[in-house]
Structure formats: structure tokens, C-alpha cells
Amino acid sequence: MKALSKGSYINHGRDYRWLQFATLLWALTYRNVVSRYRKSILGPAWAIIHPLFYMVIFTFLRGVTNFSDEGIPYPIFTFAALVPWTFFANGVMQSAPSVLLNANVIKKIAAPREVFPLSAVLTSLFDFAIAGVVLAGLMIWYHIPVSSALIWLPVLMLVTLALAFAIGMFLASFGTYKRDLVMAAPFLIQFWLFASPIMYPLSQVPEKWHLLYVMNPVVGLIEGYRNVLLKASAPPMKPFLWSVVMTLVILALAWPFFRWMSQYFADVV
């Protein structure tokens, strides 16, 4: 058989505008959020059960081990890290199968496929907002003073969102072809939880391991949230900058990879 030249598809009439993309993104996120809680008794309360549960376990564990709390009441110390962590973890875990779960939509429309992992991350942003209210209540309870450092919060959230989106895109693009990464995602996240300063502070990690430990882009973010929320200070500069750089690098690798793989999603889902 003769060699085939590469195929091309040009549509002169297609103008997929941002407004359509935004509408679709919003609609998918709305569907994800509403469908998840409509038939449950506790509803959106589920968004806080997950981090609360971990908080209780960690507080209990602290009785038998010795985690430093850097002078902050331990429950709020760990909860302030658990809430953004849950946002990140759910974002990643929900975007990994997002392409598979939307198979019939993918087979039908030519919209940019990024919309599926992105809406998964936004869905977990909704949970983050609910858990955030509880976190605020807890902060008032423990008399944590509110400071001007809170202006860092949107920046931290944006980086967290971008990181979850980037890793989610990577898992989704590979996982759509071979399910391994979709199945590995919860396990990976579990491991990642312990490799991040959530039940313990960064300062407790031995100095000689710091360089390696800070490679984890979540470290700078979690420490950042803790600084901003509890310590009235800016995120620790070095780990935070490292998080931003890592996020950009992962995004720069995962996005083109996803772009290329996503052309063929309709063939394999």
C-alpha cells in the first residue's frame, strides 16, 4: 500500500468562541456539582467531611507521635493545610477520568477537550469554597487574627488550580488510552498526602532532605496557605517560587501532550 500523506481538517466556518467555551465549562461544572449532591442526605456537607475526617485522624495520631505545630493549635494547623490539599487532590482525581466519563460528549462535539479536566478542577473548587467557610469558622473559634497577607490567597488558589489542571490533564491524556493512570490516581494522591507538609510542618523535615523534599510542588503551596492564613505572613519565598516554576513546567509539558492526544480521544473512548 502506498504511503499516506497526513490528513487535514479545515473548517472555514467554525468559530468556536470563548463565550461558548465558558458556557460549556460552566454547564459541565454545574452538572458535576448538582448531580453529586442532589441525591445525598448530607449534600454539600460532604465537601467538608473529607478534610474534617483527616483532621480528626491527624489530631489523634499526634497523641502518639510528635508533630510540631509551630505554636498553632494543632487542629487548625492541619485543617488549614487539609482544605487546600483536598481541593488539589479532588481536582486531580476527578480530572483523571473526566474524558472517559464524558465519552459520549467527546464523540459528538469538537469543543476543546480541555473543558473536561478543567470543569473537574472547578467542581472541586466549589467544594473548596464550602470547606473554606468552615475553615473561616474554625479560625474565628481559635482567634486567629486576619491579616493583609490574605491578599496572597487568590494567587495561591490560582497556582493550586493550575497545578491540579496540569497534572489532571496528564493523567487524563494517558489514562484515556490505558486505564492504568486513572486507576493509579487515588493511590498516587494518598502517597502524595504523606509526602507533603500537611500533618507536619516543613520545618520538621530534616535539613539534608529539604532540597529533594521541596521538589514536590505542593510543598510551597501548602506552606504558603499556612503562612497566609495562620501566620499572617507571605508564603515562604523559595518553596513557593519553586512551586510556581514546577507548575509552569508541568503545564508546559502536559498541555501540548494533552492537545496532541486529545485529537484522538473520540477514537478510543
Partner: protein
């Protein structure tokens, strides 16, 4: 490409990720070495589907306002073609150029969630089909009206019947403006009045200058919507012509494939002598011709000659011929006994002629089934076309009503004589 809105040039399509060679080799190596049953996996070559092309060298053009029907057997590549035109999956090779907004009327309910209400799902579907938010809000009430779901519109769609779901999907789809409509067998569900409503919409869309590409197995629908047609088989175009010729080619191809299966069956019961009477063959004569005809024309006199052989004397038989469309609608049945022609008895070999003056069938492919019955009990002695493939009747040409007014398939299936007056 002035008014050409779809241009497909030597399009090939193979499903799956076009992996570089070394990745494929690595995958095969992994498969060989990780598989527990070593012996079996080494003998297994690459899966047969790996090099399978869903479309092979397909080229065609569609002009603005054209209505193109795509027909063919399952797996011929019809849906793949639509998916490529919709931009959902990329062509492996070849060029596809499209001018205009494409709307794929495929899987209209893709994306809905059973826990959301009809209204919420309508918004979701609108977003999936590419409507911007403000347009969705403006059209929700129109959609509600079109769907005719009344109180159900605000109930979760998990409570809907499949017909109600279809109405929801279609109700949103008709609100989407586009230049090119790709329709893929969506009207199979829904009650008759809903199907009619959908058909009217598509007709209206075509009448307003919209371009329609329709994939369907329902020949009457293809015929009524489309002027042009493509017959796809095993990924390649067999015929691209006016819809009538395409349907004839398609039905012929299926029929000859069935006939090949059927011949062996007929040969076996040829030897069975226990049948009291059998039909040896049926010949069709057009006009006064002495030669059996392959095709007949609309409006000419047609004679069906039913050759029989009886192994004993059969009292009071009746001969019957029934006429069917390619979609399986029984148009009519003529029966010698009902026509007032009573036969005392038949014995041995002979034939019975059934003459239809001015054949009232418009051009198309029809099937006829023939039987010999007991006139009184209507129990059949022998019949062909029921357990075995029916006889094909190809009607070509158009009946000229007056000097230059011809009846075409657009006008329906049968011709009715009519008289008119004005007062």
C-alpha cells in the same frame, strides 16, 4: 470552491492513536514478555483490527443547499464519515474542507445527567451543542414549548421515557443555528407525531437552503429528504448519484447478497417431492413483450407469470402477489380469487398470468412475494419471498402525466388516478 461547502479529497481513516514505530514495537515487546501464557502470546500476531481502515479513499463534494443521503450496511463507515466532518476525530489521510457552521445531530442526549431536571438538562445540552449562555436563556421557554413535556420539564430526567428524552434532545437541537446539518439516525425513537415533527423540521431546514447530510437505514426517509446520495460499502464509495439510483444500487447489492445465501436453500428443497404444488419461477413481462424484463416502467402494463408444478390435483387454488417497499411496507396484495377469477383445479405443470394494467408504482425498488393458497381457507400450499428472499421489482423511468410533467420518487410511492373539477 464557490458554493462547495464540503470538500472531501481522498480521505482515509484508521481509528486509534498514530503511534511512532518504536512505541508500537515496545508495546508488542511488553505484551510478549509480560503475558503469563508465553506460548500463546508469541504466536499471536498483531490484532487484525490494527490495520483496518474505516474509510478508504473517499472523495466527494457537497454544494450549498444540497441534501445528501448516505446509505450502506452497518460498518460501512457512514458514522465515521459524519464524525470526521463534525471535526470530532481527525482524518488519517486526505483533505477535508468545510465552509460553514456544522451541526452534528448525533446522539442528541449526549451529556445529560439523570438527576438534573429537564430544564437544567436543556441548558446543559444547549451548552454542549455550542449555544452561548445568553442564547440558551432566551430560548429555554421555546425549547420547553417544543418538547411538549408540560409538567415533566421540571422533573429529573431519570423519570423520563425514552421518547420524552428524545424530545428533549431534539427540542434543544432545533434551536441551534447552523449551515450544515449532519443527521445520524436520530429519529428512531419517539412516537409517530414526534417523528413527523422532526421530519418537517429537517424538510424546512433543507427548503430554506440548509445543507443536509443524512445517514439512515430508513429508505423512505432518505428518499423524502435527500436529492443526492452516496452508497458506502466497506469504507469506500460505491455510488454517488441521485438518491433514487443510489437506493436501487444499495437494495440490489443487499438483495444479491441474500440471493447467494438463498440459492443453496432452494436447491435443497428442489429435491423434496413431498410438496403438493410448488412455484418454479416467476417471470415479469412488460407491455406486450414476449421476453421477460429485468425492469419495468411506471405506467406500463405488467404481467407476472407464475410457473407452477403440482404433484397431484389441487382443488380450488388461488394465486396471490403482494407488493412491498424496500422498507417492508406492504403496499397491496392481488389475489386471483378476490379478483373474481376462480380456478377449479390445477395439476401438473403450467403457469398463471397476473396482469396489472398501467402499473401504478412510481420509480423505485419493490419486493414482490408470491404464493399459492387454498382459495377458501387462505391456507398456503407454497409461497416464495417469505422464508426466502423476495423477488425484486425495479421500476424505472417516470410516468409522463402530460407533456412535460413527470412523476418522480419525490411524489411518493404509488400513483393514484385522479379527476378534478372546479366550481
Amino acid at each position: 470552491m464557490d458554493d462547495v461547502v464540503i470538500k472531501v479529497d481522498s480521505l482515509w481513516k484508521r481509528y486509534g492513536l498514530p503511534l511512532p514505530g518504536f512505541v508500537r514495537k515496545g508495546q508488542r515487546w511488553l505484551q510478549r514478555n509480560l503475558s503469563s501464557d508465553h506460548r500463546q502470546s508469541t504466536t499471536r500476531s498483531e490484532p487484525a483490527g490494527d490495520n483496518h481502515f474505516a474509510l478508504k479513499d473517499v472523495s466527494f463534494e457537497v454544494k450549498r443547499g444540497e441534501t445528501l443521503g448516505i446509505i450502506g450496511c452497518n460498518g460501512a463507515g457512514k458514522s465515521t464519515l459524519l464524525k470526521i466532518l463534525a471535526g470530532v476525530t481527525p482524518p488519517t489521510s486526505g483533505k477535508v474542507e468545510i465552509l460553514g457552521r456544522v451541526f452534528p445531530m448525533i446522539e442528541l442526549n449526549a451529556g445529560i445527567h439523570p438527576e438534573l431536571t429537564g430544564r437544567e438538562n436543556a441548558r446543559l445540552l444547549g451548552a454542549i451543542m455550542g449555544l452561548p449562555r445568553d442564547e440558551i436563556e432566551a430560548k429555554v421557554s421555546e425549547i420547553e414549548e417544543f418538547c411538549e413535556l408540560q409538567g415533566w420539564f421540571d422533573k429529573p430526567v431519570r423519570m423520563y421515557s425514552s421518547g420524552m428524552l428524545a424530545r428533549l434532545g431534539f427540542g434543544v437541537a432545533v434551536e441551534v443555528e447552523s449551515d450544515i446539518l449532519l443527521v445520524d439516525e436520530v429519529l428512531a425513537v419517539g412516537d409517530i407525531s414526534f417523528q413527523r415533527k422532526c421530519l418537517r423540521r429537517i424538510h424546512k431546514y433543507a427548503a430554506n437552503g440548509g445543507t443536509v447530510l443524512l445517514v439512515s437505514h430508513w429508505m423512505d426517509m432518505v428518499r423524502s429528504v435527500c436529492k443526492e446520495g452516496i452508497y458506502l460499502d466497506k469504507g469506500g464509495i460505491v455510488t454517488h448519484a441521485d438518491i433514487q439510483s443510489v437506493i436501487i444500487d444499495y437494495v440490489n447489492a443487499i438483495h444479491s447478497a441474500e440471493k447467494m445465501l438463498g440459492t443453496t436453500q432452494r436447491a435443497t428443497d428442489e429435491g423434496a417431492e413431498d410438496t403438493e404444488i410448488r412455484i418454479k419461477k416467476v417471470e415479469v413481462f412488460a407491455g406486450d413483450s414476449e421476453q421477460p424484463a429485468d425492469e419495468v416502467s411506471c405506467g406500463e402494463d405488467v404481467t407476472f407469470r407464475i410457473h407452477y408444478r403440482a404433484s397431484r390435483r389441487i382443488e380450488n387454488p388461488s394465486f396471490a402477489v403482494s407488493f412491498w417497499t424496500a422498507d417492508g411496507i406492504r403496499l397491496s396484495t392481488v389475489n386471483s380469487y378476490f379478483a373474481g377469477f376462480s380456478i377449479d383445479a390445477v395439476d401438473g405443470v403450467g403457469y398463471c398470468d397476473c396482469r396489472l394494467p398501467r402499473l401504478p408504482l412510481l420509480p423505485g425498488v419493490y419486493f414482490i412475494r408470491v404464493g399459492i393458497y387454498d382459495a377458501l381457507t387462505t391456507w398456503y400450499y407454497y409461497r416464495i419471498g417469505w422464508e426466502d428472499p423476495p423477488i425484486e421489482l425495479v421500476v424505472r423511468g417516470s410516468m409522463l402525466l402530460s407533456e412535460n410533467v413527470a412523476l418522480t420518487p419525490d411524489h411518493g410511492i404509488v400513483h393514484l388516478e385522479s379527476g378534478w373539477s372546479l366550481s
